[in-house]
């Protein structure tokens, strides 16, 4: 009897306790993240101070420059892949004229926001988590609090606003480059003229496609910044902790982007 109970205890300790601990940590960080978003929104009026707006503009510039090249390359090839795969099937049906609409709608409505969000998560979200995490373990966050400088106003607000602005801009840019890549393939592989590609695409595109894409990109931008800042502020345990915060921010944001992306698409399609 005793050994059975001991075995159960050992099993619980080894397998159940870590799961419970993980769930508890997840719930804690989710709550922290939601409170962080609300507090950041409450601090929004401070964005109009000269210093915060300058910080925000600097960050926008750095974020755009930092993600420009990788977004361009990924978007170009994504558009080319879409056109190549779609074109092969459509060619058999003699419907090459649909390549333009398929590439344009996919890039603007789904692929553009999704792909840009993943790129920004990996390049900027993890960077924010690592930057704030390093500040946390080197007591710089405490220093701000002691100097009566609220970390939310000083660190989180400009980053969240900058990413919320940069994500739609980079999404539009990615969609444009992707469509350009698609038109290159359509023109070179399937003999679809530039003008025909453009006209077909523009005829099919509706306002709701652009609106859906932009709304998604704004939601994704807020998500990337909120998760990055949350993981950064919850960092503990030295250099390892900073690495874990960066990794967690990427994993959590990827999951949220996919889940939120699905529900946003679903809400617009239904």
């Amino acid at each position: 009897m005793k050994s059975w109970i001991e075995n159960l205890g050992a099993f619980m300790g080894r397998y159940i306790a870590p799961v419970v601990s993980f769930l508890r940590r997840s719930a804690d960080s989710t709550g922290f993240g939601l409170v962080l978003i609300i507090r950041t929104m409450l601090n929004f009026p401070h964005l109009f101070s000269r210093r915060r707006s300058r910080d925000c503009l600097d960050l926008c510039y750095n974020y755009c420059i930092g993600s420009f090249l990788v977004t361009s390359v990924v978007a170009l090839f994504t558009g080319m892949i879409l056109a190549l795969n779609g074109g092969n099937s459509l060619e058999e049906l003699g419907q090459e004229s649909l390549i333009g609409p398929i590439v344009a709608v996919s890039m603007i409505r789904e692929m553009g926001p999704f792909m840009t969000a993943l790129i920004l998560t990996a390049s900027l979200g993890s960077g924010i988590a690592a930057e704030i995490g390093t500040m946390k373990i080197s007591e710089e966050i405490d220093a701000l609090r002691i100097m009566s400088i609220p970390p939310i106003r000083f660190l989180v607000l400009p980053r969240m606003v900058a990413l919320t602005l940069v994500t739609p801009v980079m999404t539009i840019f990615a969609a444009f480059i992707g469509i350009l890549g698609g038109s290159l393939v359509a023109n070179s592989q399937f003999d679809v003229g530039w003008l025909a590609f453009r006209n077909d695409a523009l005829e099919t595109l509706e306002f709701v496609d652009v609106f859906t894409g932009m709304l998604k990109s704004v939601v994704f931008g807020i998500t990337i910044a909120a998760v990055g800042c949350t993981q950064g502020l919850l960092t503990r345990g030295g250099a390892t902790g900073v690495g874990q915060a960066a990794r967690r921010s990427v994993v959590v944001t990827f999951l949220l982007v996919i889940i939120l992306g699905y529900y946003l698409s679903w809400s617009f399609l239904s």
Binding site: A143, I146, M147
Partner: protein, 265 residues
């Protein structure tokens, strides 16, 4: 000026402060000594309101701060300077901008006066001419002095030092000690946490030895030096055997979880 009465604090299931009583008089320099993990830094964090006690009272500048609202706490903190172990400078700002940060962010004075105050305080900590350098371009001792300049820039009434000489060579340590003594002459109240016995004996009006979250010895430098208490003798002579034990219990790090973590706005 500062009074801690029967302060208890448990972190991560460990009682860090166990009924701590401590008083710091106006203009006094009190040095808190103790082994790692005995609650020295936690004591400083209570004084500045970064932590609240589980039980007991913390009175700073005549006000009970453990029950204060966030807004009231911000006002009190603006009268306190804090020198962190590694300076805690923001690495994307140069030394001068780091020093001027509290003045600019709190809009305490016009830009021209801020510039003058930065120059003044950089001269005070012997960093004039280094204002344009980035934190990564200066030595550890200079980073601490820059941190001290930032702590001093808004003319605090209380200055807290967390291991100001740790990791420094003897010359840099002497420079820091000299600055602390110079500040003492200006009448500022100072609390310093350190392991550095030479530094403690050099700058302290009184020394408190902390063990297991409570003060086990308190007196001026001579009284501590000549104390017959075996715990005091073990600590000041660095003896391996004695009442303080050989090993410290798991050292408390400031990045361990605490409920004040969400105090960000």
């Amino acid at each position: 000026m500062i009074r801690l009465e029967n302060v208890h604090k448990t972190l991560g299931g460990r009682e860090i402060l166990d009924g701590l009583n401590l008083e710091v008089k106006q203009g006094e320099t009190l040095v808190i000594l103790g082994r790692s993990g005995t609650g020295k830094s936690v004591t400083l964090r209570h004084i500045v309101g970064l932590m609240t006690p589980d039980r007991g009272r913390v009175e700073v500048l005549g006000q009970e701060i453990s029950t204060h609202s966030q807004a009231a706490l911000l006002k009190i903190r603006s009268r306190i300077g804090y020198l962190f172990q590694d300076g805690a400078l923001l690495n994307w700002l140069n030394v001068a901008d780091n020093v001027g940060l509290p003045l600019r962010e709190r809009d305490l004075m016009p830009e021209k006066q801020i510039q003058e105050r930065i120059e003044e305080v950089l001269v005070e900590v012997e960093l004039d001419g280094h204002g344009e350098k980035m934190p990564s371009e200066i030595s550890g001792g200079m980073r601490k002095r820059a941190g001290l300049a930032r702590a001093l820039v808004s003319r605090p009434e209380i200055l807290l030092h967390d291991e100001p000489t740790s990791g420094l060579d003897p010359i840099s340590s002497s420079i820091i000690n000299g600055l602390i003594q110079k500040l003492h002459e200006t009448g500022i109240t100072q609390v310093m946490v350190t392991h550095d016995m030479n530094s403690a004996f050099e700058v302290a009006d009184r020394i408190a030895l902390l063990h297991a979250g409570t003060v086990i010895a308190l007196g001026n430098a001579d009284e501590i030096r000549e104390s017959k208490d075996p715990a005091v003798q073990q600590f000041i002579h660095g003896l391996v055997e004695g009442p303080l034990g050989r090993e410290t219990s798991s050292e408390f790090k400031s990045d361990q979880p605490d409920k004040e973590e969400s105090d960000l706005s």
